[in-house]
C-alpha cells in the first residue's frame, strides 16, 4: 500500500463518490468499479487486499458497499479517511433519490405513472424471485439450513416476528448447529 500522506481526504471522497455514482445495484455489482478506482487507478491497495476487505464487508452488519468504503478509507487516512470515503459512497444516492422522490411525489397521482408502476411492481417481484433462487442455491446446503429457512418464513409471515430476532436466533442456531456437528464427529 502507498504511504498514508499520499492520499488526501478529498481524493478518497471523490473516488468513492464515483464508485457510488456508477454502480447499479450496490453490493456485488460494485466490485469491478471498486477494483478499477482503488487498484488500477490509485494503487491504494492490491487486489488481494481489496478482496479481503470486501469479504469483511460481507460478514459485518450494514451495507456491503459502505463497509468496504469505510475500511479502505480507514486504512488510508484513519477515522477521517473512513468518514470521507463513506460520505463519498452515499452522496450520489442521497442526491439522486431525493430529487427523484420529490418529482415522484408530485406526479404519482397521474394515471400513466400509476399504470407504469403496476407493471414495474411485477418486474420487481420477478427480480426478487430470481434473487431468492440464487441465494437459496448458495445458502441452503443441507437439512438444518433448509429447516432454518422454513422456520424464518413461518416466523415472519405467520407470527410477524421482527427481523431483528430472526437475525439473533439465526446466529445462535449457526453456532449451536456447528458445535453439535463437531461433537458428533
Amino acid at each position: 500500500m502507498k504511504k498514508i500522506q499520499d492520499v488526501t481526504l478529498w481524493q478518497l471522497f471523490f473516488s468513492f463518490f464515483k464508485i457510488g455514482a456508477f454502480t447499479y445495484g450496490g453490493g456485488y455489482a460494485m466490485l469491478p468499479m471498486l477494483m478499477r478506482e482503488v487498484i488500477d487507478k490509485h494503487h491504494w491497495a492490491t487486489e488481494e487486499e481489496v478482496l479481503d476487505i470486501y469479504a469483511i464487508g460481507q460478514v459485518t452488519p450494514g451495507i456491503i458497499a459502505v463497509n468496504t468504503a469505510t475500511m479502505i478509507g480507514y486504512r488510508k487516512r484513519g477515522v477521517l479517511g473512513a468518514l470521507a470515503a463513506t460520505f463519498g459512497e452515499v452522496a450520489p444516492s442521497l442526491i439522486i433519490i431525493t430529487m427523484l422522490a420529490a418529482i415522484l411525489h408530485e406526479v404519482r397521482d397521474s394515471l400513466l405513472v400509476q399504470r407504469a408502476f403496476s407493471g414495474i411492481r411485477v418486474a420487481v417481484c420477478a427480480l426478487i424471485t430470481q434473487s431468492v433462487i440464487n441465494l437459496a442455491k448458495k445458502s441452503l446446503i443441507d437439512l438444518p439450513t433448509v429447516i432454518l429457512f422454513l422456520a424464518t418464513v413461518v416466523a415472519t409471515m405467520v407470527f410477524s416476528l421482527s427481523p431483528i430476532w430472526v437475525v439473533v436466533c439465526a446466529i445462535l442456531s449457526g453456532l449451536v448447529l456447528k458445535q453439535i456437528k463437531r461433537e458428533s464427529l
Partner: protein, 181 residues
C-alpha cells in the same frame, strides 16, 4: 424528536441487516407495521423499483427514499445517516482490533445459520411484495400474474441482462396493455 426516532429506527436496521442491500427489505416491511404513518407496505415495491433502477447501493437508496417518504428531504438524509452509522462504528472497531475477522471460526459458524435465515427474510419480503402486486383481496390478478410468470422465465433464462431493463420493460408493457388499476 421525530428525526431522532427516524435515525434510531434506521440505526437498528443498519445494525441487524446482514448480507447486502436486499436484506434491508424485511426491516422496511416491519417498519411499515410499527410506523404506518411513515411508510405504507404498498409503497415499498415502488421504493425497491426506484432503488434498483438508480445508481448507488440498493440499501442506501431505499433508506433515502423511505426517509424522504416519512419526513421529507431531511428525513432522507437522517435515515441514511442512521443506516450507515453502525457500519462505520463496527468497521472501525474491526479495523483496529480484529484483522482477520472474516477468518474467525465463530464468525463462520454464525454465518452458516445466518445465510439461511437471510434467504428466509428476503422470501418474506418477496411474499409481501407478491401479495401487494398480484392479489386483489383473495383473488389473483390475471394480467399481473401472467406477466410475472413470463418475466420470471425470461429473467432466469437471460441472466446477464441488467435489472433496469426488466423494470423498464414492466413499465412499458403495463402502459401498452393498459393494465387494470
Amino acid at each position: 424528536m421525530m428525526y431522532l426516532e427516524l435515525f434510531w429506527e434506521f440505526f437498528k436496521i443498519g445494525l441487524f441487516s446482514l448480507g447486502g442491500g436486499l436484506a434491508t427489505l424485511p426491516f422496511l416491511y416491519n417498519l411499515a407495521v410499527t410506523h404506518p404513518h411513515w411508510i405504507a407496505a404498498h409503497d415499498i415495491a415502488d421504493m425497491l423499483a426506484i432503488s434498483e433502477s438508480t445508481p448507488g447501493p440498493i440499501g442506501i437508496n431505499m433508506a433515502t427514499y423511505a426517509g424522504f417518504q416519512a419526513l421529507g428531504p431531511l428525513g432522507g438524509f437522517v435515515a441514511t445517516m442512521g443506516l450507515v452509522c453502525p457500519s462505520i462504528l463496527i468497521i472501525l472497531i474491526i479495523a483496529r482490533f480484529l484483522g482477520q475477522f472474516d477468518q474467525n471460526k465463530y464468525v463462520k459458524h454464525a454465518f452458516y445459520g445466518l445465510r439461511a435465515a437471510v434467504v428466509g427474510l428476503i422470501t418474506f419480503a418477496g411474499l409481501k411484495l407478491f401479495s401487494v402486486t398480484m392479489l386483489d383481496g383473495s383473488h389473483l390478478r390475471l394480467a399481473e400474474s401472467v406477466l410475472f410468470v413470463v418475466m420470471l422465465v425470461f429473467i432466469l433464462f437471460f441472466k446477464k441482462i441488467h435489472p433496469l431493463f426488466w423494470i423498464i420493460a414492466g413499465a412499458v408493457i403495463a402502459l401498452l396493455l393498459q393494465f387494470p388499476l
